[in-house]
């Protein structure tokens, strides 16, 4: 009895949300830098920098989604732009029909479009979940390079589908004239919008933290480390990986909806394979399989895009150098460099 009590106590101590070891401090600092940065910029009247911080947060959120599949599930998806873009188009198409007061997709039975963020987010999450389920089911029969190629191929199919659908702008994309609304909040205010995105990022991070510590997370970890061991233990690896892939697509899709609202525009560039690569780059840059890795990665990526991009149009050359350095010398990414190696139970 006493023993089981102490067991529970140490167990609880271990899983307390913010046990502030080095990793905890680094994670908290990253979030604080974003909040303080955005707030200071807002007070200084620099709306541009508030939006830059929002951009970091949204791309980080997309990375958190991909990291669940790539880092924690070992599924190298090169097609996450599909979910990012679909989420974006949900926000864009919803706003388009709300503006026109026509039913969604122009189909009479469907309810009118909406300019409310909550239903748009939920729709984006649901549709991205369905899409990821379909793509995941078909792709998870393969592994390695074939998995990379098949996820890329599916994303490209959706890209060309969007290009050839003139109703929603095709190649020209679709503007969102008025940013979608949320209850009584003034979402047009850049700081309000930042905190909306930031809140969702923190929510997604906490959700993933909890998920990874659960029984499902244990099975997912085993599916990545040794699928043969998982099967020999009596758990089918494929449904576990598929579930992680679906949740991954949902999170990235939510990021896409926010991204469209941030830019007031959704276009095929959100579905482009460059975008899949970009999300993957921020995950690798930040630290594959580290919960806060994509946050570090997105901050570095957007900062480089802004400052180096202002100096030279060849800024991606320097991005390449940094990526090369990370891959060669810091396997744990920027986050690993700051927080040290990850601990395993």
């Amino acid at each position: 009895m006493t023993q089981s009590h102490t067991l529970t106590a140490t167990g609880l101590a271990r899983t307390t949300r913010f046990r502030l070891d080095r990793e905890g401090w680094i994670s908290l600092s990253l979030l604080l830098i974003l909040v303080v940065g955005a707030t200071v910029a807002y007070l200084a009247g620099e709306r541009f920098f508030v939006n830059l911080a929002s951009r970091m947060v949204i791309i980080a959120l997309a990375g958190v989604g991909l990291n669940l599949a790539l880092g924690f599930g070992g599924m190298v998806s090169f097609g996450h732009a599909a979910y990012f873009g679909l989420g974006g188009y949900v926000a864009g198409i919803g706003a388009f029909h709300a503006f026109d007061m026509t039913p969604a997709l122009g189909i009479p039975f469907l309810p009118n479009g909406s300019d409310q963020m909550i239903p748009l987010w939920l729709t984006a999450i649901a549709l991205c979940g369905l899409l990821a389920y379909g793509i995941g089911r078909l792709s998870l029969g393969t592994s390695g390079v074939y998995f990379i190629m098949i996820t890329l191929a599916f994303a490209q199919m959706i890209y060309y589908f969007a290009i050839s659908w003139p109703t929603y702008g095709g190649e020209d994309g679709l503007p969102i004239y008025i940013r979608n609304q949320l209850w009584g909040l003034n979402t047009n205010n850049s700081l309000v919008f930042f905190f909306l995105c930031f809140g969702l990022l923190v929510l997604a991070l906490s959700f993933c933290h909890r998920l990874l510590g659960s029984r499902f997370g244990a099975a997912l970890t085993m599916a990545r480390l040794n699928p043969i061991r998982l099967a020999t233990s009596g758990v089918e690896p494929r449904p576990i990986k598929l579930m992680a892939f679906v949740i991954s697509g949902m999170i990235t899709g939510l990021a896409g909806a926010l991204f469209a609202d941030l830019n007031g525009f959704v276009g095929t560039s959100m579905l482009d394979w460059h975008r899949s690569g970009e999300i993957m780059v921020i995950v690798i840059l930040g630290g594959v399989g580290r919960l806060y890795g994509p946050v570090a990665g997105a901050m570095l990526f957007v900062a480089m895009e802004f400052w180096l991009g202002g100096l030279t149009e060849y800024w991606q050359f320097f991005l390449g150098l940094v990526l090369l350095a990370v891959v060669l010398f810091a396997r744990g990414g920027v986050f690993g460099l700051l927080a040290g190696r990850s601990r395993h139970e």
Binding site: T8, R210, R215, F216, L225, G234
Partner: protein, 250 residues
């Protein structure tokens, strides 16, 4: 015959012209260690793969505790009660011993789609895992990463993982391979006590261990079972001696 825990009947597998498994039939009875021996290239690995479910046989049937295993996946067979260890141990290297065993406990409870409760503080997972580790005399290594374990300890962890599934039969693929004389002796003692808990199908090269442990032996040569019987019968079977043991063994 009907009491057999594991029944293998007329199993056949061909790879082109090579008849790798030729009409193999045998069974594992409760409380026994049934050893399967055979020279290199006899088709032992092919046979194990078919029992474990990684390779579909061309024909033939497997029964575990009266239920057929045909068409079941590796994981489904494990849930039916087929515990196994590998020739080259297959564990999650970066996880602790306890976490490796806890995975099997979790599978036994059938609850991998739970997304909220943390596993680390879950006594319903930890306690059964720790009980098995204690039985395997591995309690002191529970928090150690598998990567830091010796060869012999890994074997023990694999057996612990299999036991945590509360299996109906244990399939051990060359558990003595690579163990020193001391490790072999330790494992031999362990298996002797273990067989009363769960019957064992032992695939093994180490002849001394086989003759000491096995209640019955089947000899596989060129994909075919050429002899069944007790250690004594097998030792004195002229076919076996010719095909496998060599005269100096007698």
């Amino acid at each position: 015959m009907n009491d057999a825990v594991l029944r293998i009947q007329n199993l056949n597998k061909r790879f082109g012209a090579l008849h790798a498994t030729k009409d193999v039939s045998f069974n594992v009875m409760p409380g026994e260690i049934h050893a399967l021996i055979g020279p290199n290239g006899a088709g032992k690995s092919t046979l194990i793969a078919q029992i474990a479910g990684t390779l579909p046989p061309d024909s033939g049937t497997l029964w575990l505790d009266g239920q057929t295993l045909d068409d079941l996946s590796v994981a489904a067979r494990a849930r039916q009660g087929l515990g196994r260890s590998f020739q080259v141990s297959s564990l999650a290297e970066s996880l602790s011993v306890r976490r490796n065993v806890m995975m099997a406990v979790q599978a036994l409870q059938g609850t991998s789609f739970r997304f909220w409760t943390p596993v680390n503080s879950d006594t319903s997972l930890r306690e059964p895992a720790e009980a098995v580790l204690e039985q395997m005399a591995l309690s002191h290594r529970a928090d150690t990463q598998v990567a830091e374990l010796s060869h012999g300890e890994r074997r023990q962890v694999e057996v612990a993982c299999a036991l945590a599934l509360k299996p109906k039969v244990l399939l051990l693929d060359e558990p003595m391979a690579g163990l020193g004389p001391e490790g072999t002796a330790k494992l031999t003692t362990l298996l002797e006590t273990l067989k009363h808990q769960v019957p064992i199908l032992l695939i093994e090269h180490d002849m001394d261990a086989v003759f000491r442990l096995a209640d019955r032996i089947s000899v596989l040569v060129a994909g075919e079972v050429i002899a069944h019987g007790t250690s004594e019968t097998i030792r004195n079977d002229p076919n076996v001696r010719e095909a496998y043991l060599g005269d100096d063994h007698a």
